[in-house]
């Protein structure tokens, strides 16, 4: 495979040129025009990570619907004005269902949605809806909780490390869920957090990971976009929990599991509804139950009892009997934020701005 990468690249280029020219010739023939579907990605697809997982969804709908749909995507679209331009261009070139997969696409998409009332828009990770704009997101924190159980069971130093990008609710929610998962195994475990203030900088991510391991963390995880943290753990002979995608290739010994997103089913449903003309704007926040969040197969070093415990927790998350933020939830000072017997509401979750008990250090504000 390795030797032919270059050849493949040029073959793809050549065949897409060929395809483009035949499409140009045959463009008028079809009896019923296919539904045009568009995807707008914030970063390059790559081979792992946030956009890669969305692109798996795109591939799934292409496979499922074949020539009933015509799919187009644009990578590396910066948030803001550029996103509006790309969205508008997609809508005006006939796309009838457009997915935008980054938080910062929300307002641009909303603006464009108003001028294209017949086009359906779906925005990931936002909170606004409109007559023709829906939003969708995954309950990442459920996967974080499960991975926390794994990390908590495997640590010997009772110290876990977390390389985090920016102190926004989504990231804080993940840290807290991970901590609660680990503490469900052993309440003495603490989680150290290092903020790198960047979504993507492999060098800094590595430096933060190495620092955490130097400070005694023996299982580390990350909420950043590269594979550097897993690679660093592999190099140092420690464990890691990957995020977004399965990164076991980069750390076969290190990766215990990975928290992964799965958008395939959601995209298939949306396209089906658009084809059936039953599409409606919805606000979907799917988790383990909906299959939007899962964890990668556990590393062989994870004992069977732990695997069973994780399986059980996963089933409980799916049937709703377990909530990662079921009361009592204590913050760092021991103050109760959710009383025993009740679960944290989604509204409170989405605004999470404090660390729970077990996280070391202070949350930057």
């Amino acid at each position: 495979m390795k030797k032919t990468l270059f050849a493949q690249r040029f073959k793809t280029l050549a065949s897409s040129l060929l395809l483009a020219s035949t499409l140009g010739l045959a463009g008028t023939a079809a009896a019923e025009d296919p539904l045009k579907v568009g995807f707008i990605y914030v970063s390059p697809i790559g081979d792992a990570g946030w956009t890669y997982q969305h692109d798996l969804g795109r591939k799934a709908i292409e496979e499922k619907f074949g020539d009933k749909i015509q799919v187009k995507y644009v990578e590396s679209v910066p948030e803001g004005a550029e996103a509006e331009r790309v969205t508008r261009e997609m809508a005006s070139s006939g796309s009838k269902l457009i997915f935008g997969t980054s938080f910062g696409f929300m307002n641009p998409m909303l603006k464009v949605a108003k001028t294209f009332p017949d086009t359906h828009f779906e925005h990931a990770t936002g909170y606004k809806t409109e007559a023709n704009l829906g939003n969708y997101n995954a309950r990442f924190y459920e996967g974080r909780y499960l991975s926390g159980i794994v990390a908590g069971s495997m640590t010997k130093t009772k110290t876990l490390g977390y390389v985090a990008a920016f102190p926004i609710p989504e990231v804080v929610m993940g840290i807290n869920a991970f901590t609660r998962g680990a503490q469900s195994v052993n309440p003495d475990i603490k989680v150290k957090v290092i903020w790198v203030n960047s979504w993507f900088d492999p060098g800094r991510e590595r430096e933060a990971a190495v620092t955490l391991m130097d400070q005694d963390a023996d299982v580390i995880t990350h909420h950043t976009d590269s594979t550097a943290v897993v690679i660093a753990a592999e190099e140092k002979g420690k464990y890691a929990i990957a995020y977004h995608s399965d990164m076991s290739k980069y750390g076969p010994k290190a990766q215990l599991t990975a928290v992964t997103h799965h958008w395939e089913k959601f995209y298939i449903d949306q396209v089906q509804q658009a084809l059936d003309k039953t599409w409606k704007p919805t606000s979907i926040w799917g988790g383990v139950k909906e299959g939007m969040i899962d964890i990668a197969p556990l590393n062989a070093v994870v004992p069977k009892e732990v695997a069973e415990k994780v399986e059980k927790a996963k089933a409980a998350l799916a049937d709703g009997s377990l909530h990662p933020f079921a009361g009592p939830v204590l913050d760092q000072d021991g103050k109760e934020t959710v009383a025993a017997g009740s679960n944290m509401t989604d509204e409170v979750l989405l605004k999470m701005d404090y660390y729970v008990k077990g996280v070391d250090g202070k949350l930057p504000k």
Partner: protein
């Protein structure tokens, strides 16, 4: 803080400073010859990519490192041709080189983001590497780290102790005088630019082969720009470039340790600290305006061609 933590911090500091040392030393030589090449980031990332490709395809890490340097030099050759032969504006060309390099590497590198690589390993010298303290501190890095320090000694010696270095500096001070004395100004500048490109390429190779053995679009994340700034703030002196690079790496690592220990300082402030500390220290040690004027190449950034004089 115990000694062990301190040693770990120092080791991490050196590792973090290496790409800056390579790239900044290369740019220092370029600027000493009177040429300003702002394309360091672009040359670095192209070096990172081609080093990674060769390592992934052949598994030959030495060859890969060499190709990384050659790729950086090739980018520099483009810059040299446009600015030295065609006499285009150096600032604009350098900026374009960075944009070109980042884009080109993203395009060619598409298929390589999925490749996992066994990178360059740290040395494990019998006896020496296992000595207490010294072993970790001096004998446990990967080979490119030693190469960076060797490059520092070589560059310093070349610039200040050799005739060739003197000629290079003369070209940077007054190309017309150097020309009048019979030196081939354009050829000397070409060589300096190529050396700068190769060093930036090495910095890239260090990142993609040793530091974070992976390829990802934009993985140099601005280190080329930091290297450029280091050269200016170090007032074109190799020793201060080295201090600046180590300081930058050191403060970066130290602020992560502070965060890990849970000290209550906002992380946003800590993230800014390496830049702030490096600038302040370098400005303080180089605050003598006369010395700066003495060290700054007088013809920096000005196009020159022998037919014009």
């Amino acid at each position: 803080m115990d000694t062990n933590t301190l040693i770990l911090m120092l080791v991490a500091t050196v590792a973090a400073a290496i790409p800056l040392i390579f790239a900044a030393l290369g740019e220092l030589v370029v600027e000493k010859s009177g040429v300003l090449n702002l394309g360091v980031e672009g040359m670095m990332i192209v070096g990172a990519l081609f080093a990674f490709i060769v390592a992934a395809e052949t598994g030959q890490l030495w060859l890969a490192t060499l190709v990384g340097a050659l790729a950086g030099a090739t980018m520099a050759l483009i810059f040299g041709f446009i600015t030295l032969s065609l006499m285009a504006n150096q600032v604009a060309t350098g900026l374009a080189l960075t944009i070109f390099g980042v884009g080109l590497s993203a395009f060619i590198g598409q298929g390589y983001t999925s490749v996992a690589l066994d990178g360059i390993k740290n040395l494990d010298i019998p006896v020496l590497s296992s000595l207490p303290v010294v072993g970790k501190l001096l004998f446990s890095y990967n080979i490119l780290v030693y190469l960076a320090f060797a490059a520092f000694i070589a560059v310093t010696w070349f610039l200040y102790k050799t005739r060739a270095g003197l000629i290079l500096r003369a070209v940077g001070e007054s190309p017309s005088s150097a020309h009048a004395l019979g030196y081939r100004v354009i050829r000397i500048r070409y060589l300096a630019v190529l050396f700068g490109g190769a060093m930036a390429g090495l910095a890239g190779a260090y990142l993609s082969l040793a530091y974070t053995p992976l390829w990802a679009e934009g993985m140099t994340a601005g280190r080329g720009w930091i290297a450029l700034a280091l050269v200016v703030f170090a007032t074109w002196r190799p020793g201060r470039v080295l201090i600046g690079a180590l300081l930058f790496g050191g403060v970066t690592i130290a602020q992560f340790h502070v965060q890990g220990l849970g000290v209550e300082i906002p992380s946003q402030f800590l993230s800014m600290l390496p830049y702030l500390a490096t600038i302040i220290v370098l400005v303080l040690i180089s605050r003598d305006a006369g010395v700066i004027r003495l060290n700054a190449p007088a013809s920096l950034g000005q196009p020159w061609h022998n037919e014009l004089h």
